[in-house]
């Protein structure tokens, strides 16, 4: 009995050690926040276009029934990382044929118009979420965030933060390919 008790700390240490070994897996990222939306239908929303912009507004119905999965990007002109991400997304659209929709989050229309005029507009449609209501529906934790939505309206993938830098671009490209969101042969 005494021997057993004296051995308990050792056994506990071995168990903890096992968990640590598992936790060291380099693919594991403790900062990653899984989305409750993954494999769930995208929330219902219907946003007006940004005033002063030719691009039409965005509703849930625009995401459904497309030939391939599409990408929804939440952005704002006041968000500095969005500016960095903008170039990456534009490249995905222009080079790889990704279809991109935007939700302009809590942004003053005139700022958004100026921002898009300066940097270019890769978005097919942009909904203006002035109140932030749609952002809540999507469960945003910050701006920017990017979602891949299947043609039946199911959310396939969520990326928190800007898709900037080789690792992020690589992960996002993989997700696009897996979802089949790119025309064949693109995305190399």
């Amino acid at each position: 009995m005494k021997r057993l008790i004296a051995g308990l700390p050792f056994i506990a240490a071995v168990i903890f050690g096992g968990f640590f070994l598992w936790g060291l897996n380099p693919d594991r990222d403790p900062n990653e926040i899984p989305s409750v939306l993954i494999s769930q239908p995208a929330p219902a929303f219907d946003l007006d276009p940004v005033p002063g912009l030719e691009t039409p507004g965005l509703a849930r119905s625009d995401l459904v029934g497309n030939e391939r999965p599409v990408v929804v990007n939440v952005f704002a002109s006041w968000c500095v990382p969005c500016r960095a991400e903008h170039a990456v997304l534009t490249r995905f659209v222009e080079r790889d044929g990704m279809r991109l929709f935007g939700i302009n989050y809590k942004d003053k229309p005139e700022d958004a118009v100026k921002w898009l005029n300066d940097l270019g507009n890769p978005y097919e449609r942009i909904g203006s979420d002035l109140s932030g209501r749609t952002g809540i529906e999507w469960g945003l934790s910050g701006v920017p965030e990017t979602f891949i939505v299947d043609s039946d309206g199911t959310v396939l993938f969520r990326y928190v933060g800007p898709v900037v830098g080789p690792d992020a671009v690589e992960r996002f490209t993989q997700a696009l390919k897996q979802a089949g969101a790119l025309p064949n042969g693109a995305g190399s």
Binding site: R3, A6, P9, F10, F20, W22, G23, L24, P30, D107
Partner: protein, 666 residues
């Protein structure tokens, strides 16, 4: 050239550590006195070489030698000199070098000062210490060489994270490490005792000063870190239950338990295998902290750059040191003979309860810290455990602990006199209840838990003072006689009184600053007035100012009370262009009664239309300074106890201690 000298010195230190890890212990088992003696020289040699390496790295930082990768990544030529020096231990590599330096310092300390320790025990202890050195020196040299060169050298460095450019934080790691790593020598003593299969009061007495020294530094280190978080992070909190804080707190909790159980081993020859286990676990938790901070295992605000290879190496070290020592414990501990017997109401029993509560609290913190990892491994769910869990689980335990803390010093060894005890404490209990009721009457409002905590803190404070008064027979004999008794009391006794009173003061600070905190967050244009806790604060506006390596927005806040000017506060939002990051420099008006705490953030452009509006955060935290004062009392108490004559003179040889009158300290 200098970095190469440093690198070479590290290799030499590793060679010495390898010798020291084999020769003395072999000498101890063969009775070869020369081999045993060799530990003395190698331990001191080790500290010299590691110090040379450390000095070499520091030199590279001071002269901004941008051919060294570590300097490039963590320094900048424009940085103030103090932070260039502190940059030495700001990175993973540098801090690990500091870790090893302190490890070597403690080894050399035992070699130098441990003349009262028998040769065999000393040789074994130093060999065990050298095993740890070998592990970490090889880790440093193989995976994280701080002296790596970079070619071509860049024109300037990347700067140290500006959050870390602060006096409090410059001193925080050395103190914390001194505490953390200080427990290594206690661990080595414990493993040596297991190898010898013998633990006696003399052993406990050799271990005690080292435990105390480590505990004092750890206390100071944690308090300093908490203070830094309070005034630097800009939201007025002083404890976050962040994993990295928790891993420094766990060795402290268990080290506190060890400090107390070692007393029982020393005075009564009891709790022997428990003390050994605590010694092993305390250092194991320090190692665990090193591992968690450097492996990216958990999400935390202050982790180092993450590298799975390093994580794997440290996990290997952990497996060998913790697994090995606990296996040794499982094998040898059951053979240890149990020591002195005691009654359920006695000093021993009081300290046993103290130990159980502290161990349970440590277990709670450990569980809360690792639960996200365990849950993710088992179910794949990701969660984070936050303050609500820790507060709900931890605070009640601490309140129970406080009850026993007040009671313990009144109890005598072996068997306490219950009637006499009740007689001495009833007055204290009544006083504590009156204090809590008075607080209730005066303060009305605030959580019920806070009043329980006030009751606990008052009880602890009064009981500690009462016990001290009894000991010097205050008001029973003439004041001159009492003063003489004060001088004659052992310093360790004063140390205990101060430290226990320090905990009571600390609690008061925690209660005041959490239970009665007021907070205002406003979007303020110049001219806005805010009223908080009786202060009228006017925001005069913000201006740009230029610092040595940053640009700041400095707000001007005029504070008045009843129309009279109290002070003007200048909170800043600093931008460091080189590191491309921002920090908040809060401005605080500090008094014993409470802190008026202000910080300024960037304008919230999307919600406030009028130009020139800023987000202001203004808090009033009553009594918050008592937290730091209480911590200082704890540290002074520990130092007093450390300076006790009884720890410096030779250890006793199983002399029977008188168990009744003139109860010794602690």
């Amino acid at each position: 050239m200098v970095p190469e000298i440093g690198h070479f010195a590290l290799a030499l230190a590793l060679a010495l550590a390898l010798v020291q890890s084999v020769l003395p212990i072999a000498g101890a088992s063969r009775g070869n006195a020369v081999w045993m003696k060799s530990a003395q020289a190698t331990a001191i040699g080790q500290v010299l070489f590691v110090a040379i390496a450390f000095a070499a790295l520091m030199q590279a930082f001071i002269v901004s030698d941008f051919t060294v990768r570590n300097v490039v990544e963590n320094s900048h030529s424009l940085k103030p000199m103090l932070y260039k020096v502190a940059g030495t231990w700001g990175s993973h590599e540098g801090s690990l070098l500091l870790w090893i330096l302190i490890l070597a310092v403690f080894g050399a300390g035992v070699a130098w000062f441990g003349s009262n320790i028998p040769a065999e025990t000393k040789a074994r202890t130093l060999s065990v210490q050298a095993w740890i050195s070998v592990g970490f020196l090889s880790f440093l040299l193989l995976t994280s060489n701080p002296f790596e060169r970079v070619f071509p050298p860049p024109l300037d460095g990347n700067d140290l994270n500006p959050l870390l450019q602060d006096m409090g934080l410059a001193m925080h790691p050395p103190l914390l490490y001194f505490g953390y790593v200080g427990f290594s020598i206690v661990f080595s003593f414990a493993v040596a005792a297991l190898l010898e299969g013998r633990v006696d009061p003399a052993w406990a007495r050799w271990v005690r000063p080292w435990t105390l020294a480590a505990w004092v530094s750890l206390t100071a280190g944690i308090a300093l870190g908490s203070w830094w978080a309070y005034y630097e992070l800009g939201w007025g909190g002083w404890w976050f239950w962040d994993p990295v804080e928790n891993v420094s707190f766990m060795p402290w909790l268990l080290g506190t338990a060890l400090l107390h159980s070692a007393i029982v081993t020393e005075k009564r020859d009891a709790f022997k295998s428990w003390t050994i286990l605590l010694a092993i676990l305390t250092f194991s938790l320090s190692l665990l902290g090193t591992f968690i901070v450097r492996s990216g295992l958990l999400t935390s605000v202050h982790a180092f750059a993450v590298d799975p290879e390093r994580g794997l190496y440290i996990l290997g070290l952990l497996a060998v040191s913790i697994g090995g020592s606990l296996a040794l414990y499982a094998w040898r501990a059951p053979e240890m003979e149990p020591g002195g017997l005691f009654r359920p109401i006695s000093r021993e029993a009081g300290l046993l309860v103290n130990n159980l509560i502290l161990a349970a609290a440590t277990g709670t913190v450990l569980f809360g810290t690792l639960y996200p990892l365990i849950l993710e491994a088992v179910t794949g769910d990701k969660i984070s455990v936050g303050p609500p869990f820790f507060n709900a689980a931890f605070i009640p335990m601490m309140l129970a602990l406080v009850v026993f803390m007040g009671l313990g010093p009144f109890l005598s060894w072996k068997r306490a006199d219950i009637a006499g005890l009740l007689d001495r404490i009833q007055f204290v209990a009544v006083l504590a209840v009156i204090a809590a009721l008075a607080a209730w009457y005066l303060l009305n409002g605030g959580p019920i838990m806070a009043y329980l905590a006030i009751l606990g803190a008052a009880w602890l404070l009064f009981a500690t003072l009462r016990e001290w008064a009894l000991r010097i027979r205050l008001f029973e004999v003439s004041l001159a006689e009492s003063a003489r008794r004060v001088r004659n009391l052992p310093r360790a006794s004063h140390g205990m009184t101060l430290a226990h009173a320090g905990v009571a003061v600390l609690m008061m600070g925690m209660i005041g600053s959490t239970g009665w905190k007021s907070e205002e967050i406003v979007f303020a244009a110049p001219g806005t007035e805010v009223t908080i806790a009786g202060f009228d604060i006017t925001f005069e506006g913000a201006a740009k100012v230029q610092g040595p390596n940053y640009i700041a927005d400095r707000g001007t806040l005029v504070v008045r009370r009843d129309g009279e000017l109290v002070t003007t506060l200048f909170p800043e939002r600093r931008y460091y262009p080189v590191a491309e990051s921002q920090t908040t420099e809060s401005a605080i008006r500090s008094t014993l009664a409470g802190d008026l705490y202000t910080s300024i953030a960037t304008p919230a452009s999307d919600q406030v239309n009028n130009a020139g509006a800023w987000t202001l955060r203004i808090l009033y935290e009553p009594l918050v300074n008592l937290i730091w004062i209480g911590s200082i009392l704890l540290v002074i108490g520990g130092c007093l106890s450390l300076s006790d004559r009884r720890l410096r003179v030779g250890a006793p040889r199983r002399a029977k201690q008188p168990a009744t009158d003139a109860v010794p300290a602690e």
